[in-house]
């Protein structure tokens, strides 16, 4: 019997007015792995991530996490089931410091219960652990020096790195990353690609939407090419990115 895919969708449709953002999309993704979703602007890549993370309810079709149907679950429920995501327009909490943003993301915090918060009891130890974990996550993206700065003071690239530290801290098994590489300085880029590989080697499934083809070629195990809401091609990067007809039609 074939093993259940970590993340899958079957026959996904999503219409926005006249625009078909998703038109019969079916994919099966297993962890560990790095899957890159590529394709022209407006192809439906972000919409697919939105459908997986509960931000968009598909008109038809189902998404499943390890066989469990996700439709009908709220965004927060999907997150608690083990899917974390970043946003193309880079979202962090501006008026929290970098480290608070990361600590916020830690799952199952006792200090988030009102009673323990009121009593100021039973969460200090956990908080120290989360602080240490958050510091390591910030260091892993090169923001170790910025931990006490407000997120709103950080540059665009730094905010993008911060959002990567945030999803790491969730400990989700599935990370959906919308353009994690674009806009990152070449020197930092190498270490981020290494970080992505390390997360995969920890057993996670990473789904990246990315326009930076050299990065995709370097890091992805599988590439899914989308256009006009459909999956046009799927395969290894060396294969997809070499096929002249695909590159000419969709990627130039």
């Amino acid at each position: 019997m074939p093993k259940t895919p970590t993340l899958q969708c079957d026959g996904l449709f999503k219409q926005f007015g006249d625009v078909r953002a998703l038109a019969d999309v079916s994919v099966r993704l297993s962890r560990p792995g790095i899957v890159a979703i590529i394709g022209p602007n407006g192809a439906g890549k972000t919409t697919l991530l939105n459908a997986f993370s509960g931000f968009v309810q598909a008109d038809r079709g189902v998404c499943r996490l390890e066989g469990l149907e996700l439709s009908g679950h709220s965004v927060a429920e999907v997150a608690r089931l083990g899917i974390a995501r970043t946003f193309q327009e880079v979202r962090v909490i501006d008026r929290l410091s970098a480290i608070e943003n990361v600590m916020l993301a830690r799952p199952g915090q006792r200090g988030e219960s009102l009673l323990l918060a009121l009593a100021s009891l039973g969460w200090r130890t956990e908080e120290r652990v989360n602080h240490a974990v958050a510091e390591r996550a910030l260091e892993s993206v090169g923001l170790g020096q910025e931990s006490n700065r407000l997120a709103l003071e950080l540059s665009y690239g730094q905010r993008k790195l911060l959002s990567l530290a945030v999803v790491q801290a969730t400990e989700a098994r599935v990370l959906l990353l919308d353009e994690p590489i674009a806009g990152i300085h070449p020197e930092r880029r190498v270490s981020i690609l290494n970080l992505l590989r390390r997360l995969r080697d920890d057993g996670k499934l990473l789904v990246l939407v990315e326009h930076d083809m050299p990065a995709v070629r370097e890091v992805a195990d599988t590439v899914i090419l989308m256009d006009e809401g459909r999956v046009v091609a799927e395969g290894e990067p060396s294969d997809i990115l070499q096929r002249r007809e695909l590159v000419e039609a969709y990627l130039d």
Partner: protein
């Protein structure tokens, strides 16, 4: 001396009201205009139970706080998906409803005449018969409310509130229980507002609806915003400033009728200040 103690009592009373409102306005980005209504619920709940039943001061305060929690809980139920200004409009409407309940439900609330003969505060059977003792009672209650609110604001629970006030979608995508947290903070804020109401009832020994109008809600809001929402000490500074201002106007010998209008004008100016000082993040974007 008695006058100074009375002003101190007012400081502590308003410090409770502003601290509890700031849990919503400053820490959660929920612009509530129903705080005077909840304050009134507490005042009337205490007045009604302590004049109709043989119930102790502490019992009456506890019942009042429970009433505040219940009403506040109901207010927070439709908060799911109600963003920014819509929450303000909703609470404005509820403030109107609450006031008209207090003003119009004669058989229960005495209507415009209110309720008199409320017993003075007594702790464990000992009546607090000097103003100094009463002041101490208000000070202790304000201290407890302040400490609990600070605990909450500086805890991981408070961190979720702070995240929520800026970006609900992102907070949900981190798996946080945004709806539950909103309902809980509303309930807590309502309990404290009602506590202020109950203390006030037992202190003045008389309540009528005029103290719980939308103008009072806006006065409390003005104190919070002037002091600095979401800053822990700000709401208290705001309370001290506006209470002092009101008393100063009385003190410089302006006739009562003019002082009343002058006070309204000052509050009006404070309201204009609200519009301009309204900080980022107040409306959940």
């Amino acid at each position: 001396m008695d006058y100074l103690l009375h002003v101190l009592v007012l400081f502590f009373l308003y410090a409770i009201l502003t601290t509890s409102l700031d849990l919503l306005v400053g820490h959660s980005g929920l612009l509530s205009i129903a705080h005077a209504g909840l304050y009134g619920i507490g005042a009337y709940a205490a007045a009604i139970v302590s004049t109709h039943f043989d119930i102790s001061f502490l019992g009456s305060v506890a019942i009042a706080m429970l009433a505040g929690v219940l009403v506040s809980f109901c207010i927070s139920l439709p908060s799911r998906g109600l963003k920014g200004d819509y929450f303000a409009v909703l609470t404005f409407a509820l403030q109107m409803v609450l006031f008209h309940l207090l003003n119009g439900w004669d058989r229960l609330t005495g209507g415009p005449l209110g309720i008199s003969g409320i017993p003075a505060p007594a702790v464990f059977g000992a009546e607090l018969d000097t103003l100094a003792e009463t002041t101490l009672l208000f000070a202790s209650c304000a201290g407890v409310v302040f400490a609990l609110s600070r605990n909450v604001a500086t805890s991981p629970f408070g961190r979720v509130l702070h995240a929520l006030r800026e970006d609900e979608g992102l907070t949900q995508s981190l798996g946080k229980h945004t709806y539950r947290v909103t309902i809980q903070v509303c309930a807590m804020s309502g309990a404290f507002a009602a506590l202020a109401g109950a203390l006030y009832s037992h202190y003045i020994t008389y309540v009528d609806p005029t103290g719980f109008t939308v103008v009072e809600s806006i006065l409390i809001l003005a104190m919070v915003i002037l002091g600095g929402p979401g800053t822990i000490l700000g709401p208290i500074i705001g309370a001290i400033s506006l209470v002092s201002l009101a008393e100063a106007l009385r003190f410089i010998g302006i006739p009562a009728s003019e002082a009343a209008s002058l006070r309204q004008i000052v509050y009006g100016l404070a309201l204009i200040a609200i519009v301009f000082l309204r900080p980022r993040g107040l409306a959940r974007a």
